[in-house]
Amino acid sequence: MKKWRQQVKKWLANQLELPADVVMDLPRITMIGHIHIYIENHRGLLTFSDKELRLLLKQGQLLVRGEEFVIKTILPEEILLEGKIQQVVYLDQ
């Protein structure tokens, strides 16, 4: 049932040319070079250190690796991370 709903949403996004993050509740990630990363639509902070940030998403997790991390701003659904970003990894669960 859930899979089917997801399928419909994907089809809708494709056919109506709607932005995928709005229709499918996916995170929108904006990076400015390797110094800023701005993530919208996350579901909470899992772990945070100066080398690693793990965020809960609606499906799976997002892992950001790098150095000298500072969370400049954090809101319930948005986060702005500053530092030297090296990797952005999706983890499926």
Partner: protein, 395 residues
């Protein structure tokens, strides 16, 4: 994203949490709608972030539910600034005092300038202004507005046609237009005109009175020239005799001029030094260079310093050292002779009135003795020889 300067007014505080599940605590904070920024991990289980001061009471229950310890770090923003300001209110007092002083000083009158008035009118204006309170050191807000001052001035001083009163910053400017009043005719007492010295009359110009001499007459000193008694005998009238009687007079003058002379002249170079002196002890304030002049003259100006209305025992002294130079002048005999003649003429001209003229000059005698030139000159001058002599009535 939030404007960080908006946090300034509400005040913000740095929070450090230590323990297990620091991330969970942050999530809980967010869920409660608190604003959190600059999150930083500073140790294995230590997290620090900034939050708004007004959110602190809501933080406490959340911390109690978690397994973390809470401590507060740097506080910044307006509420803390206010607290600090009250803690050292001496500064605050100083700032306000300073502002008050600046306010008072900028509301004082620092100068009164009167333009376009004769000295005596200016003096009267200044006196009137003083009576109105317009003087150095008066407060502007206690004075009448310029229009009223203008009206009062024109009312009180009758020799004024118009006064422009302008307050520019802290200075009053008065632009004065005076009435042109006709001159009162001079009251001359009745008098004769007599000869100032021995002369031969060359020209007569009598305005009033009875002339008793004519051109080419030889007159002696004190001789009556124009009589102040006019009219036929028996019907005489006294008048102030007026007029100019030009006569040829003679002058003799002797000038002695050394052929060689030594002068001290200023070279134009000078050094200024400034001192503050208490009694006889002088502290140099400005001008520390050494004097390089071989000959110089000193000139010093002293001015006592004042505080409010008292004179302080400290005196400000300005000393000017002017370099001098010796100049030797030497004339040849001929030059000296010419120079002496010039000097003699100048000396005579300085003695004579403006309407006198030198008609002729003759060298009576010129000689050289002991390195000096001695010249004796003889001048023929046309000048006004009339001199008033009051008539004493009842003679």
């Amino acid at each position: 994203m939030k404007n960080t300067w908006a946090h300034f007014f509400t005040g913000s505080v740095q929070v450090t949490i230590q323990g297990r599940g620091t991330e969970r605590l942050v999530n809980a904070c967010l869920r409660n709608g608190m604003t959190v920024w600059n999150v930083r991990k500073i140790g294995e289980d230590k997290l620090t972030f900034f939050m708004l001061l007004k959110d602190v009471p809501r933080l406490r229950p959340i911390v109690r539910q978690s397994e973390c310890k809470l401590s507060f770090g740097r506080r910044s923003g307006f509420p803390f600034l206010l607290k600090k300001t009250f803690a050292n209110f001496g500064f605050l007092l100083g700032i306000f005092l300073f502002l008050a002083v600046v306010f008072l000083l900028s509301n004082m009158v620092w100068g009164v300038h009167v333009q376009g008035a004769k000295p005596e009118t200016e003096h009267r204006i200044l006196k009137e202004l003083k009576q109105m309170g317009v003087e150095k050191g008066a407060f502007q807000f206690l004075l009448d507005p310029p229009e009223i001052i203008q009206k009062k001035l024109t009312d009180r001083i009758d020799t004024l046609t118009w006064v422009g009163v302008e307050l520019r910053g802290t200075t009053f400017y008065f632009q004065v237009v005076e009435k042109k009043q006709p001159k009162e005719p001079e009251q001359i007492p009745i008098r004769h005109l007599v000869a100032k010295k021995k002369a031969v009359i060359t020209d007569l110009f009598v305005e009033e009175g009875q002339p008793l001499v004519s051109v080419h007459d030889h007159v002696e000193k004190g001789q009556l020239l124009v009589s102040g008694i006019i009219g036929k005998e028996g019907q005489t009238k006294f008048v102030p005799a007026k007029g100019k009687i030009f006569g040829e007079t003679w002058y003799k003058s002797t000038v002695v001029l050394p052929l060689e002379a030594v002068f001290h002249v200023f070279t134009g170079k000078y050094v200024e030094k400034h001192y503050l002196s208490i009694q006889s002890f002088a502290i140099p304030v400005w001008g520390f260079q050494k004097l390089s002049f071989a000959h110089y003259e000193t000139e010093s100006q002293k001015r006592p310093l004042r505080f409010w209305k008292w004179e302080l025992p400290i005196v400000y002294e300005r000393v000017i050292y002017r370099e001098t130079e010796q100049v030797k002048r030497s004339y040849s005999w001929n030059e000296a002779f010419q120079q002496a003649k010039k000097i003699a003429r100048k000396e005579l001209q300085a003695k004579l009135d403006d309407d006198a003229s030198i008609k002729d000059e003759k060298v009576l005698h010129a000689e050289k003795e002991n390195g000096k030139v001695k010249v004796e000159m003889y001048y023929e001058v046309h000048e006004n020889i009339a001199q008033p002599q009051p008539i004493v009535q009842g003679d």
